[in-house]
Symmetry: D2
Subunit: 345 residues, 4 copies
């Protein structure tokens, strides 16, 4: 077993963190992950409740770079709030570790898009440099850059579902951006994080649906940067669904010219021909949330109007897998030259 | 108690029918409704389970126009499938009864919109004439016509949520129809009817979300007819939510000119100033499904983009009340000159 | 409108409080309730979200006994945590108000049962005296005492469902207490209160079921005191259901002798013959949670084993109505000599 | 890949069948399973919807024993209704196949317990003989017999959760059977099967809880036979939970003597010391449904009353895994001498 990669995880008790640890334990090609706790945080006493499916109790270690190196750790996952990732990642990189960050801290290249996170134009020279070097970890678009990256910024869950739905059409020049791109997304509650709030109380969510962050959700920045859109071309409205996990995005676009459904399907199939984790549905069959739940798939389907110009695309994924921990594993596989589906089947 | 209106209900065992009977029993100004069964249908044995909140067991009577007249019935509610309504309503009208029909049978004036229901260009002379005379029962738009109507076609649940959200802006000339109107609606399962199917099985719906009838849902016809839109200007996508009842429609439009949020709010408030059952929320507060659940309200809220041109409207209602039985009671109140909220508070 | 009772409510923002305010507003025989806030607590800004079904915005007043008297208030509802009720009720009584307390503060006569709430043997002379004078507000058992009570201790939700199921059999001498009484109860999440915690987070509750407080739930004391049981005769296990509201208790007992099902049904029917808010189901039909949801009913049904000795009773109610606010209204109606279902139909 | 076992599955489209196929595909030591359809049944067209997580489309083959043998099939899983299993299993056995049957057809040795399934005292000589030879497939109790069995009767989901909770105490002589054993079980809707009915309609189940089959559920027979109880000693009440999957059984027993909690825990731990798929929780920590969901574990926990005599046991499992398809795989592993967790981790 020597010689195998040993990963460490900071933030293992959040929803994405728990999922990530589970995937790492079952991965097959990495050793049991080291779980780290930040100074000042208790180790928690309910790990058995957090990781009920794991074969043995887990213990937490303090975050100590020297100790990590001694234990052979070379890769650190940050499943932490973005403020923490913003401060921890530069140190980790400087100490020689590779980092996969699941927060929004390093996803955005443009300062005006980062503002919503409260990051100044640049916090420090290091942060500025690292922002430039960080690779947006969407394997289907940036696979080559991810392989060699020191810092991978794992994409947002909503952003993943939307970017993967739009990229093929944009590249093919089929999408009339100026007519506007409407993204109506619906997400399960785990996407809102583990913090108990009025908003995540069972009684607030059950039997309900609500829209939020209209015109100003953080993931807008990722979407416009990755797809090179103008902010005014995108409308994105997220909704909170009464389910634990899963995302469905319904996307409304207009094509640049009258097009046959087969041409659109071909466009998607060719774009994702060599991609393991995107499934294209034959129109008019549409993905549903439950089809991709507990998998790393992003499922794509569409319906074309009779005028052959207006298009509705439906994109589904599991926000904790393809939208977070599963994609992080996919990125790790790319970084170490492993099969893209290792540990994800 | 003599002299009070006595209504009859055909189709009292469906979701809307049960709700309607409950409202009629508690209405205050009408006598206990007569429940009718169609010939060939058993009376069912589980009325106690259907109407658990009603004070006494109910019995079903055969549909016999003479007997109905003898018992003083003057108004018949049809909570039946549209094929049944299409055949029963003409007879009821000819026999001298007034009718409120909750199905889609009489909502559409234009043959091309009716085609989706399988009604021929005209089934018969009577049907043709009745189609012309039927009044679309949306009280906030057609109150005057409803008062004197013999046949009221109670609107669809989705259509109600969308028409009420758009009518004020269209009348004010604020809405740029040619840029397209996108309606992304989400409905609880009672909207799909009581018939047990694979689609309504608990395991199919729970923890899931799915889009359906993209570009070809029956309610499109109502929306375009009532708002005088061109079919090509409307995109409507319904989704099935894992909740028993409630609808939320997220509507995306573009304004004809840059506009202030206060102007839009004023437009809505003035349009609905004398309407009891529409609530306009102060921007940026948005309605949620649970706010209007178990009430007859349609709740409207909106967010305006920074460019003052792109607008997101959120419209919520309870599909079994304002979207069906509650609106039917509201129509009855108008037809008999009663207070619009009698029996609905 | 002068001369009508004007009630005040402290704790109107909790789940039971919101329900109580809604019932008082629609009651018909009382004036609009005054909402009180404790010193040091903000009035909150989201009243419109809390009371979405109420016709007008509500404001909160500071708790000032002199001002309350001036405004004609004579009855105060406490929908507060038990510690608050324990300190506020004695003052209110001394100031001459009648009090209906929805917490557990005044339900228990025996010090050993009160211990679980952290109340000392007696906090003060006043508390000791008030504990004696407080009437346990279960109208079906204590109607006579409630009429003249100064302080009514509104029963717990679980306790109501269990006491009403057992009282008729115990009084008839049919229940073999020494063989043990097993109460397996399941409650919706609103019973756990509005405080957001890990336990009430949507993701913790959805798709789950859990037992808690086995052998030591607070409501045990109420049940044994009201039914004059020995603690060792009762086993009570509550469970947290993934639904917003409603309780179902499945109760297992053994009869003192072989008995016919008709005798048991008669026993229940006679005991509750004059009670408006208990419904006895004809065996073997059993209540379900949804039958009593949004009503003030407690529904009772049972199945008898072939040996005519082992009995399973199922008891259902809405924990926010018959289990809290509805029962409080029922108690108010008794205290002022009104019809027991005023404001509850 | 030659030489590996090739299994066939009849009834692959039910909930347990789908789960079984998924497990077989990922098992690692068996070849891709052959899916069989009964004559007269269409192959269905929505396999992609049924098996969304499977890497490739599946086709169905007619049930033809000769063809099966030619394709190297030696083991047949029946995930069929019990009437079908009752008629197909004898033929399969006679044709030389080994059979794992997931229905209730072959679980019961005593004719009086089988009556509830509608099987006559014996349908035929073959059935009588096969009933005797069939092995009840609960690996933790009958592992030795399962290894060599021709026909394994995979246990019921409720029965598994209850038998595993009681067997250790009964064997240790700690359980006072004559004082009665109360089993209050709650199951997700997939346990009620895939047939769409009024009972499984989303609107009937959501926000609800209901008890059913009190004193006469089919699984009673399995429990009393396997634990050698008298029918009068067991009360079993199942309830339908508003969740897709998972079972929690709360079991109430009385001990034969005052006992320490540590002794009970030791009793459980020793009984299951060598068992991979039973987890014993340290008291007073209790299992919840979500801990064992999507795993093959049966989780056991308990609370002891202060009198050291009354005991509450909580038992949880996933009804489609340890309660059906997972246990079937576990049985297959035993039958072929493989590791008990192969394909189940």
């Amino acid at each position: 077993m020597t010689g195998r990669l040993r990963p460490a995880v900071l933030g293992a008790t959040g929803y994405a963190g728990v999922e990530l640890v589970r995937l790492l334990v079952d991965h097959g090609w990495v050793e049991k992950p080291l779980l780290l706790r930040r100074s000042g945080m208790g180790a928690g006493s309910d790990l058995a409740d957090l990781f009920p499916a794991l074969p043995e109790p887990y213990e937490f270690h303090p975050l100590d770079w020297v100790a990590l190196r001694k234990q052979g750790v070379k890769l650190v996952f940050l499943a932490t709030p973005h403020e923490i990732s913003r401060s921890v990642a530069p140190v980790a990189i400087e100490e020689g570790f590779r980092v996969i960050d699941l927060s929004g801290a390093w996803r955005l290249k443009q300062a005006r898009n980062r503002a919503i996170y409260g990051f100044g134009d640049e916090d420090s020279l290091t942060a500025a440099e690292l922002t430039r070097k960080a690779v947006y970890g969407l394997p289907e678009l940036n696979g080559d850059c991810i392989s060699g990256a020191a810092l991978v910024a794992n994409p947002g869950c909503y952003a993943t579902s939307i970017i993967l739905a739009l990229a093929p059409l944009l590249q093919a020049g089929l999408l009339d951006r100026q007519r506007g791109i409407i993204c109506d997304s619906k997400s399960g509650v785990s996407g809102a994080g583990k913090e108990p709030t009025d908003r995540t109380h069972f009684v607030s969510v059950a039997d309900n649906l609500s829209a939020y962050s209209v015109f100003n959700h953080r993931h807008c920045g990722e979407i416009v940067e990755q797809l090179q859109l103008d902010t005014s071309e995108l409308v994105f409205t997220p909704h909170l669904l009464p389910i634990p996990r899963g995302i469905l995005s319904t996307i409304y676009v207009r094509l640049t010219r009258t097009t046959q459904a087969t041409e659109i399907e071909t466009c998607y199939r060719e774009f994702y021909a060599r991609q393991r984790w995107v499934r294209v549905f034959a129109t008019p069959r549409l993905p549903q949330i439950r089809f991709s739940l507990f998998t790393n798939y992003c499922d794509l389907g569409f319906c074309l109007a009779e005028d052959h110009q207006r298009l509705v695309i439906v994109s589904c994924l599991d926000n904790l897998l393809k939208g977070a921990a599963g994609q992080a594993i996919q990125n790790m596989n790319l970084m170490y030259g492993w099969k893209e589906d290792q540990g994800l089947r």
